[in-house]
């Protein structure tokens, strides 16, 4: 199947791999990047998009999104998640397994793979359950699930508290070179907590979650990784001490990576303000010092990836007293704009930011995307890094509107999103 080639010309090409920025063009043919560079100013017999100096970069790869299909189609479907992702410049989404039924059966993984291919305009790759029924007791069929198309293994928002189960699962996963993604939060230490423990929680009269809920679990996992050699990714860290733990594990050469959510890079516990339930998250938003530590960890490479932690919740689950509201915020569509705040405030360079949003996740997941390279899939985002806008949650394509950035001023807007050479989002036509 040969289609007409497409030339992006007059673009600012940002390659997160080399950190290079070039003015130039990029030629797409048959779904892959066929050529790129400053010399590419024109092409014969090709469609041409004049980028007008906007940034052309690898499409974003989001390692953590919750989608309600199957089981909760009112929250989000594979189709609506795909549209939301495309609008946010995200070309690949890793979906979480806590659906109904749980993604712990190869047949269900197979269903998601097919259904995503048929209904979603971006790549949706399912992560399968780490333990059967996400119960943390018995390891899931990691080999068969991987054969069926599971990209990674995780219990979603749950932690495996039994160290023996975690040890054996890490060991088993290693035999299959499977990636384990773990939510690090000790449920006993979380207890009844609903936000970061400390002065602000005390003032609001809310129960706190100590940072140790995260650091103890993370520290335990580092020991188990050392024991087993299993490939391990901490889904999200949220505090300075956690960054220190990962930093030292990496220094020892352990096969460990970690993520941070865009929320923990953009917001702190004070933003909860007047009991805003859209900012009720797991792990909870922490102190400003922790947010600063997350940015630093991103800069020094301790934090590998930024995730949206996209977690659609309908109004009924959020319009409740803070302690009773569900955790989670949508984030696919605002991931890039919110992340661009770090660039605009001169905290993180654009190539470094894009590394954490595309190249590193591709590396961790073993995907060929995430780079501006000849032969790589044409999963691309063209965006205007400076375009200002005020977010209106009613405009979100996600079926749920629980964004923490409603009415926020953001800079950086996606113009075109392309998946495998096909334009799946185009603001110019809106």
């Amino acid at each position: 199947m040969s289609t007409k080639p497409l030339l992006f010309k007059n673009a600012r090409l940002v390659d997160p791999d080399t950190g290079r920025e070039d003015k130039g063009g990029l030629l797409v043919r048959d779904g892959v990047i066929q050529d790129l560079g400053p010399q590419l100013t024109q092409a014969v017999d090709a469609d041409i998009i004049d980028c007008g100096g906007q940034v052309l970069a690898p499409g974003l790869i989001d390692m953590r999104a919750f989608i309600g299909e199957p089981g909760g189609p009112y929250r989000e479907t594979l189709k609506s998640a795909g549209e939301a992702a495309a609008a946010g410049g995200v070309t690949t989404v890793v979906s979480m397994p806590d659906t109904s039924p749980v993604l712990d059966d190869p047949a269900v993984i197979d269903f998601i793979v097919r259904r995503a291919r048929d209904t979603s305009i971006v790549n949706i790759l399912p992560a399968a359950a780490l333990t059967k029924g996400l119960k943390g007791e018995e390891m899931a069929e990691i080999g068969r699930l991987k054969e069926a198309g599971a990209i990674a293994f995780t219990d979603g928002v749950r932690s495996v508290t039994n160290a023996q189960v975690m040890r054996r699962t890490l060991t088993y996963a290693r035999d299959f070179d499977a990636l384990i993604v773990h939510h690090v939060e000790d449920p006993d230490l979380v207890g009844q907590g609903v936000m970061n423990e400390g002065e602000f929680a005390s003032r609001l009269g809310l129960s706190g979650i100590p940072r140790e809920a995260e650091t103890i679990m993370l520290e335990r996992d580092m020991r188990l990784v050392r024991l087993t050699g299993g490939r391990y990714h901490a889904a999200m860290i949220s505090c300075a001490d956690s960054a220190e733990i990962v930093r030292s594990a990496k220094a020892k050469g352990l096969p460990v990576t970690c993520g941070v959510s865009i929320n923990h890079l953009s917001l702190n516990e004070n933003d909860i303000g007047d009991y805003r339930t859209f900012l009720k998250l797991s792990p909870p938003l922490r102190h400003e010092d922790d947010r600063q530590a997350m940015i630093e960890a991103l800069n020094d490479g301790t934090v590998d990836v930024i995730v949206s932690d996209h977690n659609p919740q309908d109004v009924e689950n959020k319009r409740l007293p803070f302690a009773e509201a569900a955790d989670g915020a949508v984030g696919l569509e605002t991931l890039l704009s919110a992340a661009m705040r770090l660039v605009h405030s001169d905290r993180v360079s654009l190539p470094k930011l894009l590394r954490a949003l595309s190249m590193k996740p591709a590396e961790i997941l073993g995907l060929p995307a995430g780079r501006l390279k000849i032969g790589a899939p044409a999963d691309l985002v063209l965006f205007d890094p400076d375009a200002p806008y005020v977010l209106d949650k009613r405009q979100l394509k996600s079926l749920s509107k629980n964004t923490p950035f409603d009415e926020a001023r953001l800079e950086g807007q996606v113009t075109i999103t392309m998946v495998a050479g096909r334009i799946v989002f185009d603001r110019r036509s809106m």
Binding site: K132, R144, T171
Partner: protein
């Protein structure tokens, strides 16, 4: 007596066992007690038949209904039996080292019929005999021991014996079923059946206990069979004339498929016959060392 000589003796016992008149007089007047703390069908009956064919008076201690169930310690049981003046005690126990402990407390010969995950020497001997009779040799053969090596006394005894006899022994299992640190014993280990069986002359499968199948050591029976169960496809990675062994009892459809277990390359039934012969050889070899012998 060296191992080859013991196997030569076992070869003779095979002939004895195939005659109509199977009874010898080597152990006439001797008392053999089979003390099995763990249920066993084939090993216990094999030792019983072996003892009887050599003319011994064989008594099976039914541990389930014995004083052990009433709380007697292993050492007290040993002392009690010792007072009855047996000549040979054949012991199977669920704890590693228990047979060794018991042997220190009695005056007669003690044969280990399996202790915990430690050793099962007569199983290894019968496996060696089976291999030698079919391949003509053991030295230089590549033997892949596959499955639950962690909990297997059969694997440990075979590793020691077959390696001592010059075979290249390798271990194939998911890491959870490999004893930690086993690589330091010098046996190549594989977690992938395809690689582990490549070039193997003998494929020795091990039983996976039911309680280890569902999520604790491996995720499920289905998954275990898919990646570690011996079927025709996986057997095709081994040499074309590779032979298949299993100490029994088999879980068909878990560690081995029925067509392989019952197929032309299977030695599983022959192993049972060799079991009796090897145990006769072991008991006969002991005869000259017995009390008042």
């Amino acid at each position: 007596m060296d191992i080859q000589a013991l196997l030569d003796l076992a070869d003779q016992q095979v002939e004895v066992s195939r005659q109509i008149e199977k009874r010898k007089t080597t152990l006439r007047g001797r008392t053999q007690i089979n003390l099995f703390f763990e249920p066993s069908t084939r090993t216990q009956s094999s030792f019983e038949i072996a003892g009887k064919r050599l003319g011994a008076d064989v008594m099976n201690m039914a541990v389930a209904s014995s004083s052990v169930k009433k709380g007697e310690t292993l050492i007290d049981t040993a002392a009690t039996l010792n007072a009855m003046r047996p000549d040979i005690i054949v012991v199977r126990h669920h704890a590693a080292g228990a047979v060794h402990l018991l042997a220190q407390k009695v005056d007669c010969a003690v044969v280990n019929a399996g202790d915990g995950a430690h050793e099962h020497p007569t199983q290894a001997l019968l496996d060696a005999l089976t291999i030698r009779r079919n391949k003509g040799r053991i030295e230089g053969l590549t033997v892949a021991i596959c499955g639950d090596i962690l909990h297997s006394r059969v694997a440990r005894s075979n590793m020691i014996l077959l390696a001592a006899m010059g075979a290249q022994v390798r271990l194939v299992a998911p890491t959870n079923l490999l004893p930690p640190g086993i690589a330091r014993l010098g046996f190549p280990t594989f977690t992938d059946m395809r690689k582990g069986l490549e070039g193997a002359d003998i494929v020795m499968m091990l039983r996976l206990q039911r309680e280890r199948m569902n999520g604790s050591f491996v995720p499920s029976v289905k998954e275990y069979f898919r990646f570690y169960g011996l079927d025709q496809e996986k057997l095709s990675y081994a040499k074309p004339d590779a032979l298949v062994m299993h100490p029994g009892p088999m879980n068909r459809g878990v560690e081995i498929s029925s067509d392989v277990a019952d197929g032309a390359q299977s030695l599983i039934r022959e192993q049972v016959e060799m079991g009796v012969a090897v145990r006769m050889a072991v008991l006969e070899a002991l005869a000259s060392h017995l009390p008042n012998g």
